[in-house]
């Protein structure tokens, strides 16, 4: 093995990284993942540039990926020479000046918008960033670099032991690599939890001139963004994982199948791949090992079902993304009929850590059957939303309350596993998060979407939402999925409209079972899960819709009415201005009228009435 080029580059990388950390020039880091940008990071960055330009201060701006607590975005970190990096949260463009003024003009650590510092010990009365309640219980293995390094800098990755896992793999036989992954106990992070080593072995043992590796980054689960964040924050980790997996299965070509909705992640991957080529980590005879491997990016075109292995392969082949029967499994006959392995982005991103630190180290985290750590996108009605990584076996309560900070209104449910998963009620809060316990409760681990809802969310509406989603995304091949999901949606619509009778609920359960049993792929066979679990754990809420024609969460449009309370209405006309359908009328200073036949229940009037200082709270929504 010839690692001279890489070794030389590594030295240079270390020097560059040390220069970043112990620089005589101030460094300003900006969380510039898609979420940070959505929160206004680009404006924040412009304000930083403007401030530095106006005052002629020298500093380096480093755009980094998402560090996880998205609710604190935009995040701005300042690192002055000889001092630790200090992080500021929710920094809008208008806040930049006062923060930078503190550092650059007053020589102090401003306390305004302060989140924490990245040093090892106590500093200037500032808490450590990783001691924040959202971060403290986490174990960051796959996310170790996200938000820390510049994702567009290979040198940053190299300086943090990047590609050492791959070098280690190259010094081993393929069987040893497979064995290490087996001993680590990692299970497929895409949802099903199938052990990667098992399909790798099947694939490797096939007689074939070519084998393929596909990284599945078609993160179609609505409400989940783990793969996007990982690729945006640390693209080399995933690519290094692909090299390791490619080496283990003897593949010559790899593909990253990624959603076109993730333009920034695609850009980061392309940059990272060009850098790999430069140092000989991609192409023919990598590092003189005799192993040749190249990677191509394939952009998905917007079909949830393409997360399914065989549909994904059909899509890469330029066909409609429809699943086919298995066997033969892709590991035997996949892309172009050749043995193909499809691994989830997170699984691949974890491999370098397993190889570098050892299988036993990784297996030290987690439970007996679910080893290691898992990332989750913790979203919905929790106070602290974002991307987290925790050891498996942690309870839902720890995740939702200790990390997420709980909900504002009373907790109602948590949906794990997206449209294929299940909705769990309060009684499951002490359930450990692992593959077995979640499956037992009727949910699944899935790819890691955790959507928390409170008493303000209607559970029937949520079941309808998921069913509508899977019905739209059904590829249409199997009748139970194509027609069954449509009927399930129709029944749920009737429930939400208060037009169902109690026999409908039984029909829904029966139909759910038929769809589950009669569908070829996981989309169909798991599509009824949200409806079935909500029916099981939240039946009284369904009954309220059916028998009382009431929506307890005041959500279902056809069961709620908007009303103006004349005694409270000041006649300020603000609601009249925001009503898009002209449903509210009335002269100034007199109570307004709301014409329910024109009202589309878009909440504009309600919000303006609640949150405008001049208006009262004269508009109510009732069920």
């Amino acid at each position: 093995m010839k690692t001279e080029i890489l070794d030389a580059r590594r030295q240079q990388a270390q020097a560059k990284w040390d220069a970043v950390r112990q620089s005589s020039v101030p460094h300003i880091y900006i969380g510039a993942g898609s979420c940070g940008l959505a929160a206004g990071a680009a404006d924040t960055q412009r304000a930083v540039e403007q401030y530095l330009g106006e005052h002629n201060f020298e500093a380096r701006i480093v755009p980094v990926g998402c560090i996880g607590p998205c609710y604190l975005e935009p995040l701005l970190d300042v690192q002055m020479p000889g001092r630790p990096r200090v992080s500021y949260s929710n920094v809008a463009a208008k806040d930049v000046e006062s923060i930078l003024q503190g550092f650059f003009e007053k020589g102090e650590t401003p306390k305004y918008h302060l989140a924490g510092h990245f040093g090892d010990s106590e500093f200037d009365g500032v808490p450590r960033f990783f001691d924040l309640p959202m971060l403290k219980p986490q174990v960051r293995i796959v996310l170790r670099n996200c938000g820390i390094i510049d994702p567009d800098e290979l040198d940053h990755y190299l300086a943090r032991d990047g590609y050492k896992g791959f070098e280690k793999a190259l010094s081993m036989t393929w069987q040893e690599v497979v064995d290490a992954v087996k001993r680590s106990g990692i299970r497929g992070r895409g949802g099903a939890g199938f052990p990667a080593w098992r399909k790798w072995t099947t694939c490797r043992e096939q007689q074939s001139d070519e084998r393929y590796l596909i990284c599945n980054a078609d993160e179609g689960d609505p409400g989940a963004f783990m793969n996007r964040s990982l690729i945006e924050g640390d693209p080399h980790a995933v690519l290094e994982g692909m090299l390791i997996a490619g080496y283990a299965i003897g593949a010559c070509h790899g593909y990253v199948y990624i959603r076109a909705e993730y333009p920034l992640a695609i850009k980061r991957l392309k940059t990272a791949m060009a850098q790999m080529r430069e140092v000989g980590l991609l192409g023919e005879n990598i590092l003189g090992s005799g192993f040749s491997f190249d990677i191509k990016i394939k952009e998905g075109a917007g079909a949830f079902v393409c997360g399914e292995e065989t549909a994904l392969i059909a899509s890469i082949e330029g066909k409609r993304g429809m699943p086919r029967t298995r066997p033969p499994f892709p590991a035997v006959a996949g892309l172009r009929g050749k043995p193909t392995i499809i691994n989830n982005t997170e699984t691949l991103g974890t491999l370098p850590n397993i190889l570098r630190n050892g299988a036993e180290w990784y297996a030290g985290y987690g439970t007996e059957t679910s080893k290691g750590t898992k990332t989750f996108s913790l979203v919905g009605k929790v106070r602290r939303t974002g991307l987290i990584e925790v050891p498996l076996g942690m309870t839902l309560r720890q995740v939702i309350y200790d990390i997420g900070g709980g909900t504002q209104k009373p907790f109602k449910a948590v949906q794990s596993g997206g449209p294929s998963g299940g909705c769990l009620s309060e009684e499951f809060l002490d359930l450990p998060i692992d593959y077995e316990h979640l499956a037992e409760a009727g949910a699944i681990m899935g790819s890691g979407g955790l959507i928390v809802v409170d008493s303000g969310t209607c559970i029937v509406d949520m079941a309808k939402y998921f069913m509508t989603f899977t019905q739209r995304e059904s590829c249409g091949k199997c009748v139970p999925c194509r027609v069954g999901t449509r009927h399930m949606v129709e029944i749920l619509e009737r429930v939400c409209d208060g037009k169902a009778d109690s026999s409908d609920l039984e029909k829904l359960e029966k139909l759910g079972k038929t769809v589950k049993n009669g569908s070829l792929c996981a989309l169909g066979s798991s599509a009824p899960n949200p409806a079935l679990t909500t029916l099981k754990y939240f039946r009284p809420e369904f009954i309220a819709h059916v028998k009382d024609h009431r929506c307890p969460a005041v959500t279902c449009k056809n069961l709620v009415v908007y009303r103006v309370i004349p005694s409270k209405c000041t006649g300020c006309q603000r609601c009249v201005k925001v009503c898009p359908t002209g449903a509210i009328s009335g002269p100034r200073s007199e109570p307004h009228n709301l014409d329910t036949t024109k009202c589309i229940k878009c909440r504009s009037c309600y919000e303006v009435c609640r949150f405008d200082a001049i208006a009262g709270d004269a508009i109510v929504i009732e069920s």
Binding site: E299, R320, Q415
Partner: protein, 153 residues
């Protein structure tokens, strides 16, 4: 604009295999904003596939459009997090204000409206994208303000 048979620029980027179909259609849409039927005819001759087959593939995927887009593209995210945080109300309000349904373009060709399954910024839900710019933690009122600002600019 691509006239009739002129897909020569795109031809040079690909080998012309069947597997290239989806990336070719993506490039076509990137250039023109939608898939024109005569461009599809050219692709059909080049890749030696029937137009039916190409339409079959293109209509399967949500990304492809078959009508010219409006000047501004408004995407309302209805991922789960956006749904439970009020995305549906934002969609209802936008529909009423623009007087179009998702997938349609306003009569003055100024806006088109799309409901998308997930933009991946779930922690900052609800999310609305105006052209390429994502706006997070939206509400019906904030979106109304965006529409007002855009109309007045």
């Amino acid at each position: 604009m691509i006239s009739g048979d002129d897909i020569s620029a795109i031809r040079q980027e690909f080998k012309g295999e069947r597997e290239d179909l989806i990336p070719v259609l993506q490039r076509l849409q990137e250039q023109e904003g939608y898939l024109r039927s005569d461009a599809i005819r050219s692709v059909s001759r080049w890749l030696k596939m029937s137009e039916n087959e190409i339409f079959g593939v293109a209509t399967f995927y949500a990304q492809f459009r078959f009508h010219p887009p409006g000047e501004h593209h408004i995407k309302i995210c209805l991922g789960t997090a956006c749904h439970v945080k009020g995305g549906e109300e934002i969609l209802a309000m936008t529909q009423a204000r623009l007087n179009i349904k998702p997938g349609e373009t306003t009569a003055d060709q100024k806006y088109d409206l799309e409901r998308v399954a997930c933009l991946g910024c779930c922690a900052l839900a609800p999310v609305v994208a105006f052209d390429d710019k994502f706006h997070s933690q939206m509400s019906v009122l904030k979106v109304q303000k965006l529409l007002d600002e855009d109309r007045n600019s």
